[in-house]
């Protein structure tokens, strides 16, 4: 975590999340962490060093009992604490789906606003080196479907820190998704207590021909795709959502009405995915400004396979974004 100059620090995505945790825990002693293996820093180093600084009362090793991790989080959250619950892999959240769907997401509403549920659920998602069907999924679509949950999915260390800080400070349950392939990636993080508000998209690149809307690891693929498209004479605007709920639709629409062409890309399954919601919102609100039918990029309709060539065949990346962009431009 070397200090590069007075305004930014370079660190990995994982270190940036630890930095956010440390700031939140120093500031507010109601913040505690509940998760599997967190004394050892977590599966991806997302909790490294927290036990030493904050002790076992605040950094609590949980059994591999996902339902109880989440239920204890809810019980603590509604009685005056601000827990951060951790599941190493997003598939493990499925063992806590009742607690996420029926308890955390609904408590405030169902009980008439008596109580808030200030709880963050951190989970790692996405493919990483042939982790196969049960350790490779991107499940944000399950969470965004549920009223009462906020969902964020950053792609770089600065946003990782800023959004986690905002998520912990938020009074509602927030699902914080961290893609496994970017946990070790390093980048600059603004010095000081950097916070990125929930519900604000970032315009990563301005362009006039086409808008790409994306998030999480796909934002990194999209940046490379934009460079290739520039080489083909296509001037692309790149919007990274960062927050899925709340969704910054204004930023998306203000771009689409200028370019008239849009690609929405995510690593999650295309069928029934979050991209469908974004495309529906765009066509519903800017139909007369579109010059071509929007195109989605997402995983093919199969569980993520193990064998590397099969995994590559199912999961989209840079090439698929380029192909989709050319399709929207009417070039193929």
């Amino acid at each position: 975590m070397a200090q590069r100059d007075g305004t930014t620090r370079r660190m990995s995505f994982g270190q940036a999340t630890v930095d956010a945790m440390r700031s939140a825990m120093r500031e507010d002693d109601r913040v505690v962490v509940l998760g599997e293996d967190i004394s050892w820093g977590g599966n991806f180093g997302q909790f490294r060093g927290l036990l030493d600084e904050f002790g076992p009362d605040r950094v609590i090793d949980m059994p591999i009992s996902e339902a109880i991790i989440m239920a204890v989080g809810v019980g603590a959250a509604v009685t005056g604490m601000r827990p951060v619950a951790s599941m190493s892999f997003v598939e493990f959240t499925l063992g806590a789906m009742d607690e996420i769907v029926n308890q955390a997401a609904k408590f405030r509403y169902m009980f008439g606003g008596q109580v808030s549920v200030p709880l963050v659920l951190r989970a790692s998602d996405g493919v990483l080196r042939s982790s196969a069907g049960q350790h490779s999924s991107s499940l944000e679509g399950l969470f965004t479907h549920l009223p009462g949950l906020k969902v964020v999915a950053p792609s770089n260390p600065a946003d990782a820190r800023g959004l986690l800080r905002a998520a912990i400070a938020d009074d509602d349950p927030v699902v914080y998704l961290e893609n496994k392939r970017i946990t070790a990636k390093r980048g600059p993080v603004p010095a000081g207590d950097h916070v990125v508000p929930l519900g604000s998209a970032a315009v990563r690149r301005t362009g006039s021909d086409l808008t790409i809307v994306t998030y999480s690891v796909m934002a990194l693929h999209a940046e490379k795709a934009c460079a290739r498209l520039a080489g083909m004479g296509i001037d692309t605007e790149l919007i990274e959502l960062r927050s899925l709920v709340p969704l910054d639709l204004d930023t998306v629409l203000s771009s689409v009405v200028r370019t008239g062409r849009v690609v929405v890309a995510h690593e999650a399954w295309e069928f029934g995915g979050f991209g469908a919601e974004v495309v529906a919102a765009i066509t519903g609100q800017a139909f007369d400004r579109l010059r071509a039918a929007p195109v989605r990029v997402g995983a093919a309709q199969a569980p993520i396979p193990f064998s590397p060539p099969l995994e590559r065949a199912v999961v989209p990346g840079e090439d698929e974004i380029v192909a989709a962009a050319r399709e929207v431009m009417g070039l193929c």
Partner: protein, 326 residues
């Protein structure tokens, strides 16, 4: 030996009053539901009153409970007022949850009632989390997680007991064993006959209690709560009782003989307790009648309050999905 034991007359009579208030409330709910006045469906607590009344009498106002789909009795015993509960059952704006929750989601966090929960055993982990929070905040509060003989077969029961026992958390798991998990006798679905033995797997005390005797439910809870407050960890209490009504009001009850229900009515916890109070000279017949009459008036007032209250405006339906949208 006096069956009320060391309980003060005031406490013994107070528990009686709570039981009667629950019985009268639930009987009226049954009538109102059958008359088509209540939306949704309702699960009544009739027959199990000694559990809620005895357990909650052993708790402080700021202690926590989590409840079940059959939660009206717990809500009343923990100190919620009848008007807001009834109005919630009607779906009115003045309901405890402003009409958003209904019968299965009655809650009042100001009296430590962390919600009736429509998911079987759904409250156990939440009670465990509340106990963790109380320990961390150093408040001395304990939590009671109510569940049933159906809930004891849920994974969350086992996960909650393991975690609470590992950390010696101040939580009491109260199994309200009314013999039927929805329509199915527990004897057909459960590996052990005495449900309290499941505590042994987690190294905590497990005690079977006569759940129709409020002196027993009170005393066993008091002991468990004392242990919990002192850092001695959780207890599993298996309170044997019986559900006089069906799973829900209107249940045809094809799964049990009416003779079985009639036989169990001999064990009616309120009649038993009234005999005890009478035998021990704590309650005269006139005083008994006054308790029932007073409860009847209180419930009537709650019904009037509910019926005179407005429904929530449709325009408020999206309030409180989030605390703040961004």
């Amino acid at each position: 030996m006096r069956l009320t034991g060391t309980m003060s007359p005031g406490l013994s009579l107070g528990i009686h009053r709570t039981m009667v208030r629950i019985r009268v409330f639930e009987s009226r709910v049954e009538e109102l539901f059958k008359a088509g006045k209540l939306p949704g469906f309702v699960h009544t607590y009739i027959g199990q009153e000694a559990v809620a009344a005895g357990v909650c009498a052993a708790l402080n106002r700021d202690d926590y409970i989590t409840s079940t789909h059959r939660g009206h009795g717990h809500a009343i015993a923990k100190g919620m007022e009848l008007g807001p509960i009834m109005a919630e059952l009607y779906g009115k704006a003045t309901g405890a949850c402003r009409g958003r929750g209904g019968s299965m989601h009655v809650a009042d966090f100001s009296v430590g009632m962390l919600g009736a929960n429509g998911i079987v055993a759904g409250g156990l982990g939440i009670a465990t989390g509340a106990a963790l929070s109380a320990r961390y905040r150093g408040t001395g509060q304990v939590a009671v997680g109510f569940f049933g003989d159906g809930g004891i077969n849920k994974g969350t029961f086992h996960e909650a007991l393991n975690f609470a026992a590992t950390h010696r958390l101040g939580v009491v798991f109260v199994c309200e064993n009314n013999q039927y998990a929805q329509f199915t006798s527990r004897l057909r679905t459960t590996s052990v006959e005495d449900l309290s033995v499941r505590a042994a797997a987690y190294g905590i005390p497990g005690i079977t209690v006569d759940g129709n005797d409020p002196a027993a439910t009170y005393r066993q809870t008091l002991e468990a709560v004392a242990r919990a407050r002192e850092g001695g960890g959780p207890t599993l209490l298996n309170m044997e009782t019986y559900r006089f009504g069906g799973h829900y009001v209107g249940d045809a009850e094809v799964y049990r003989a009416s003779a079985e229900v009639e036989a169990r009515r001999e064990e009616d916890p309120i009649l038993r307790w009234e005999r005890t109070l009478t035998n021990e000279g704590l309650m005269a017949a006139g005083a008994r009648d006054a308790v029932w009459a007073e409860a009847g008036e209180e419930v009537s007032a709650a019904v009037s309050f509910a019926e005179e209250s407005p429904y929530p405006e449709g325009g408020t339906a999206l309030e409180n999905v989030f605390t703040r949208i961004r």
